[in-house]
Amino acid sequence: MKATYRWIIWMSLFFLAACTQNQPVKESQLALMKTTNPTPLTTERKKNRNRAEDIKKDVSSLPEVYDVAVIKGEKDTLVVYKVKHMQRFKMKTIEKNLNKKLEEKHPKENFTVSSDYKIFLEAVRLNEKIKSGSLSHSKAEKRLEEIVKMTEDMK
């Protein structure tokens, strides 16, 4: 009887493992568990990725932060980051310092800064869609606004 149960468990594990074969794993599927470091993007028609890259460099220079996603929209610039495990006690101070640094270096930009995993995940998903070209500029901008609104609801 025990052998039958063991056999069923092994076979079900075998078939479940087979389900994952030949399926391309998207970065967003593992975005909460590993460092994804998505490339900074912009939703603007006049693509100016340099500024988004500069912002990402500035944010990454903070020692407490380790995974940064930057999406630059026409109105807002979304900056999402993960905080190192032992530094998570100082989340508010990190956010404050980051806001100050970004406002000093890029005074013309309107920043939305967040360290929430959900916002990070949505930023990576949006990033993937923009890269694959499945979203038009206006739709990408609209989705970015939705994500920004999500961060405002948390405050």
Binding site: Y117, K118, I119, L121, M150, M154
Partner: protein, 158 residues
């Protein structure tokens, strides 16, 4: 305690030493390890549930706690009903009682125990017999902490 020992007869003292000699020692370290592992496993499941809500629903890190707690309590209620949680509790002790699943277990076990006394006076009246103190002191301590925070914010400390 000291006065009690003084009053003991020699025969009682002899019995006490004999009893201490044969008394089974509590495996404290082993129990702690068991509680740590099972408690950690329950928390890991909780983390997986919260990631599930973040991935597939519109919950952020700040508000994902509410559905996660509700789901964990629901799981423990099912396990209590099927009689599985009793075994987990016997094995892990505090490891299964301290997480929020222990709360669900205490509610449902009291409800099952008093089912024979009827729905209103039995289940309704006794359901929160064990969990009632958790709710009372939880609400009261939340009130005190909120009061302190409000005062600190008003005085400009925070």
């Amino acid at each position: 305690m000291a006065s009690k020992q003084k009053k003991m007869t020699p025969q009682q003292k002899k019995y006490q030493t004999l009893q201490q000699k044969h008394e089974l020692k509590r495996p404290v370290l082993k129990n702690c390890i068991k509680a740590f592992l099972v408690g950690g496993l329950i928390c890991m499941i909780g983390q997986a549930v919260s990631y599930f809500y973040i991935y597939y629903f519109n919950f952020t890190e700040q508000n994902v706690g509410n559905p996660t707690v509700a789901t964990m309590v629901f799981f423990s209620m099912l396990l209590t009903g099927f009689g599985v949680y009793d075994h987990i509790g016997q094995f892990a002790g505090a490891g299964s009682a301290v997480p929020v699943t222990g709360f669900g277990n205490s509610v449902i076990s009291a409800a099952i125990e008093h089912r024979t006394e009827g729905f209103v006076l039995g289940v309704g009246g006794n359901m929160f017999k064990l969990a009632g103190s958790v709710i009372l002191f939880g609400v009261f301590s939340a009130f005190v902490v909120a009061l302190i925070k409000t005062l600190l914010v008003m005085w400009g400390v925070l």
